[in-house]
Amino acid sequence: MTTMNLSRRRFIQNAAAAGGGLMLGFHVPVSRAANSLARPITAMPEGVEINAWLSIDPSGLVTIRVPHTEMGQGGITSVAMLIAEELDVEWSKIQCVFADANRHIRNNREYKVMSTHGSQLVRLQHPHLMQAGASARERLKEAAARQWGVERSAVEARLGELISGNRKGTYGEFASAAAQIKLDKEPAIKTPGQWRLLGKPMQRIDIPHKVDGSAHYAIDTRIPGMVYAAVKASPVPWGTLKSYNFDAIRNRPGVIAAVELKAVPGKRGQPDLQNAIAVVADSWWRAKTALDLMPVEWDGGESAKASNASYYREGRAALNVKGTPTKDDLKAIEAVQTGKKVVTADYERPFETHARMEPINATVHVQKDRVDVWSPTQDQSAAVLLVADQLKVDPKIVFAHTMYLGGGFGGNGGGGTGVTRQAAEISKQVGRPVKVLWSREEDIAQDKQRPMGLARLSASLGDNGLPTAVVTRGVWFSQDRINQVGPATADYPLFEMPYSFPLRHHDRHNLNTHIPSSTHRAPGANQMGFMQESFIDELAIAGGWNPLDWRIEMTKDKPDWQLVLKTLKEKANFRTDLPRGQGMGVAAVECHGTIAAACATVGVSRRGELSIEKIVIVLDAGHVINPHAATEQAEGSVIWELSHAWLGGLELENGAFANTNFDTYNLMRINQAPVVETYFASSGGKKWGGLGEPAGPPVPPAVANAIWYATGKRVRSTPFVSHDLRWT
């Protein structure tokens, strides 16, 4: 029995008993073996809270409160490993619960960060998570030292036991005393050479819940008295609702109400409400059927004129005009204009969508003195604040219940976006708990998309075939020209290229669209990495260089790039002499502090059918705490990027997206999936890069580069499937 079947009474009891760590959603008995079985929650473990992150019960069972989201990236396991490393406790004596976002807000951001994005959990949060474990360990030692009348330094903490000479005790025995102790000075956290657990491949502890349907996602929320809402927002984002006729459907079975949702004038940010109409019914199917049958008229305004074609026209025109420089060097421009041998190429990519497998949804229960929220978000604390803002209530009465997330990929930030506001608003208006679920068509049409982008890259070559100057221009579209999410909508790979070019100029255009955008796994790098690394191959080949040797030559002064590229050379057996119809290609892109290099092996039939056979990935994130989960993330990132580059591409027509389900917006399937081999070339030291995203961006250019070797055809736009790859 898990959360959502709990009666409200029971649910409140659990919330209270947890001391703020809501024992909701799941209980993870940590696996010693991959097939150990998950135990259902029967009661909260008795335990003493040592600090916000952990409690210890008399038997020595440690409950870790995980502040972050689990969306398959191994977040729960990473947090548990980081704390267990310092606490020094048997892996089998740990269980995890999600931390309480209400407590976090109430106690002045007690968990420091609850957001889970930017591949940041390990690379940026490891110091304070390890600190929580180290601090608890030292307090346990101090408690034992005081009881035994010895110095703390004479007590050793090891795998759940405290030992001094012939005296021995367990963490469970000393937990109460440790909870009372304040340390004069916090201990230092371990350095990588001292790790016992970190760095070992650990099976993810959420796995057993994900093979029998017992893992609960926000979409699975069921609470007594709950009703369901289906929603349609203006198909042209930020359009207005002209009319709707509720009378036409009000007598249909189960229909309860229609609720109009209105955008707030002047507020067009990512988590704000769009103009929309909702139908509320006693089941979602009845709500959706009624909504589909209800006559609704929209006015898309001027934005209804926009299309892929109009945006490409605008973007191509901008490529001919100097933009805002980030690296302004007139000498570079002049060198390229007057060069003896010049290479220039334009690249373009369409909008792409997140389409996480769990369609966007949220459940909110608004009551007089309490609001409960189930939101599929990458930041539960943001969901609390967003709902409080929508309802104009004190965030302290808003409780967010963290569930497993059915994919995030950067699309579920900001508290779960506008859907959470919709659920709050509808629950308030109908006076009942409401689950809002977007149909897949709505999910894609109203997603915060990865923006469309274009780039022009030019270089002049010297006598040795290497570039003397490089000039680049990035163009992308963002809503109201607001660069809402930093590099997500930007072109940073183009101006942060690692190569040692003698002269360099970069400028950019941020063009206007009505389409909301958001971070999308490996933001910026996912789009412009293709432009960068496709061009590098064009440049290397024009200069008579092997593209992999070119990259090694041009990063000679960067030891970590040398490590990654030379490892790729060793592992991938990159060749440029394969027979026609076969090809290999390489590429390398830095993202979230991690260098990722890829080598693709492809086949192209004479009829032009592409098959992607193998992708070799080499990563330098500095350190890898869980090679097992990190490898899974690399494999997933490869498929993610290939889906878009090979098959994807949203089609904007009359201001709205035309391909909004999986029969028209194509994603990679198992029969198209390559074999992925992952290697870590970790440079160590102070470097901590992310691992949830960076393996993706070098893959599309590696494939495009391989297609060139296979066919002689240069693919400068995506999806690849739209190109004629026939050869004779």
């Binding site: 017992s214 979409i219 497998m357 994919g407 990929f409 899974e632």
Partner: protein, 153 residues
């Protein structure tokens, strides 16, 4: 309209329109939420269940069409995660976000029920209707082979 369905060997009488997709009867009426909504147009496989042992997309299966048949969902695949496919899935660590995996496992179980030792090509053909946005395909292939070995022991 009241219709009676046999789901995981238990009889349920539900009051729904007969054309209501089985998916929503399972999830919202009965509360078996392990079967997932992904697309509603039978294009992603997240809602895959077995009807009389055959894999079907429950989002496109009218509830009334399952009357008198044996419906099996992920919750009823095995009593204790001990179906060879579930065991193999845990051994390999297939799921990432896990959302599509009920459908993946039901498709794989149906494949193994008709092919004792499927090849990679047969696995690809049988599983191509199931999208995994996390990209666990390589591990799915590996786990199906392991499950076949376990089932044939």
């Amino acid at each position: 309209m009241a219709i009676t369905l046999t789901i995981n060997n238990t009889s349920h009488t539900v009051d729904v329109e007969p054309e209501t997709p089985l998916l929503w009867v399972l999830r919202d009426t009965i509360g078996l939420t392990g079967t997932k909504y992904g697309c509603g147009v039978a294009a992603c496989g997240a809602c895959t269940i077995h009807v009389d042992g055959q894999p079907v997309r429950s989002c496109q299966t009218p509830a009334a069409s399952a009357v008198g048949k044996k419906v099996t969902t992920i919750e009823g695949l095995s009593p204790n995660k001990n179906h060879p496919v579930q065991q193999a899935w845990m051994e390999v660590g297939v799921p990432q976000c896990g959302y599509c995996q009920s459908g993946q496992i039901m498709s794989a179980a149906a494949l193994l029920a008709r092919r004792r030792e499927p090849t990679d090509l047969e696995i690809d053909a049988a599983m191509a209707g199931n999208i995994c946005r996390c990209g666990t395909y390589q591990r799915i292939r590996q786990a199906v082979h392991i499950a076949a070995k376990k089932a044939n022991l």
